[in-house]
Symmetry: C2
Subunit: 235 residues, 2 copies
Amino acid sequence: MNDHQPFDANVDIPDETLQAWSRLPAESWAALDAIIVASDAERGHHPAGETFLIVSGIHGIMREMADGRQSVCALAFPGDYLDMRRVEHEQEGSLVTLAPGRLLEIDAERLDALIVQDSDIADLLLTLTREAFARSQDHCADLATKTPLELLASALLELRRQHIEREQDQFTLAIRRGDLAQYLGIKPETVSRGFRQLRTEGFLDAGGNGQISILNMPGLRMLASGGRPRRSTRS
Amino acid sequence: MNDHQPFDANVDIPDETLQAWSRLPAESWAALDAIIVASDAERGHHPAGETFLIVSGIHGIMREMADGRQSVCALAFPGDYLDMRRVEHEQEGSLVTLAPGRLLEIDAERLDALIVQDSDIADLLLTLTREAFARSQDHCADLATKTPLELLASALLELRRQHIEREQDQFTLAIRRGDLAQYLGIKPETVSRGFRQLRTEGFLDAGGNGQISILNMPGLRMLASGGRPRRSTRS
DNA sequence: CGGAACATTGATTGTGGTCAACTGCTGTGG
DNA sequence: CCACAGCAGTTGACCACAATCAATGTTCCG
């Protein structure tokens, strides 16, 4: 079932990335429309297919090691374009839905043909992929240098961005603690302790149901960008 | 000074990525040639410009935090295409040369124009960027889950690939221990201890001048893909 | 209500960071 | 030629901190 309005006009655009899509000419949309299948995904769903366009929800790219350890190596937000195909496919990543949402599956082969024909689409996909690559680099840098508390602060700021009411400091954290831990390379217990610490130090307040109220945004930003390095308590 | 043979025929092609470039039509090469400037970079060099094509050497994308912690969040190998521009440029990454080599700087704006005109180039750049994104995801997964010893084994296998005599198990590790540490999110001391352990356990032999001889390749591969997880010594 | 999955909290341990000292190498200059 | 400084790398001792293990709380289902 094709969806003629993949980005419904009555849904507020939550991200600059979506705006990039809205700049696409109508004829490009028509061509895309013919090779798109929309679907709603619940948590834990592994969508079939290779090429996707995220409409809503939180989705992650998951990798698993031989001994079972697994990690969410990237998050995908509304507006993101994902092509899971690899030239050298040693490690396969799989798309997993972390918070329910809608995604569009694109016919990969026909998209390839479209890329060659339509330079607007090619240009857009290149820009989106480059942005996703840059965000992945950010995440690498975070994982390599930040402490768990700093990681949590960064993740909160990153997840806050996908909400419509982004100017407000209140939002619901739609992702589970365990998934967050796998994304940040720490254990769920550490995530829990981190939230506790953020609460007791007055950075935020957490209501039930994943409600988050950020009380000290500048402080949280400072924390996320390196406010609490690791060092010994040598007085 | 333009270089009419960016990939010199008498240099063995060390990577599948370079082969991707060689499939580009001659007229596309001619168009690229006009907007390319070649240069040789020594270690520590921060090339000017925004868009690059790597010919040889090892280069890294480096990020720095406010308090000075820095990390090499991605490695760039021969054949890689890098566009450092970002739509939302909160964190700027900079290209750094880790092992001396040659790179081609491409005029970013004129490349943009070329991408719209030449679908072969657009297609190639999209594929290359997607591959780089996928490798970045691999690295994220590594950083999130692997122990230092596993990280070292992975890095050795990754660095080995960029050498011509790849079938052999001997190569020179052209990257410094400190840079390797920044890439893997560990400390130089830990890198040193890791090498020591790999030596004493018979995985490899390290001569002077960064010469590495891998003695037990299957074992190293197994180690890299999760052979030594973290767990308690509860017998 | 029961049961399972998720989340939190506590106690303990292993491990990689930290600091410091030392080695080996290279280039410089007297 | 040696003395010296400077830097990358190594080794050792110590300890802070996140992982681990275990138990309890909480939420969300049927």
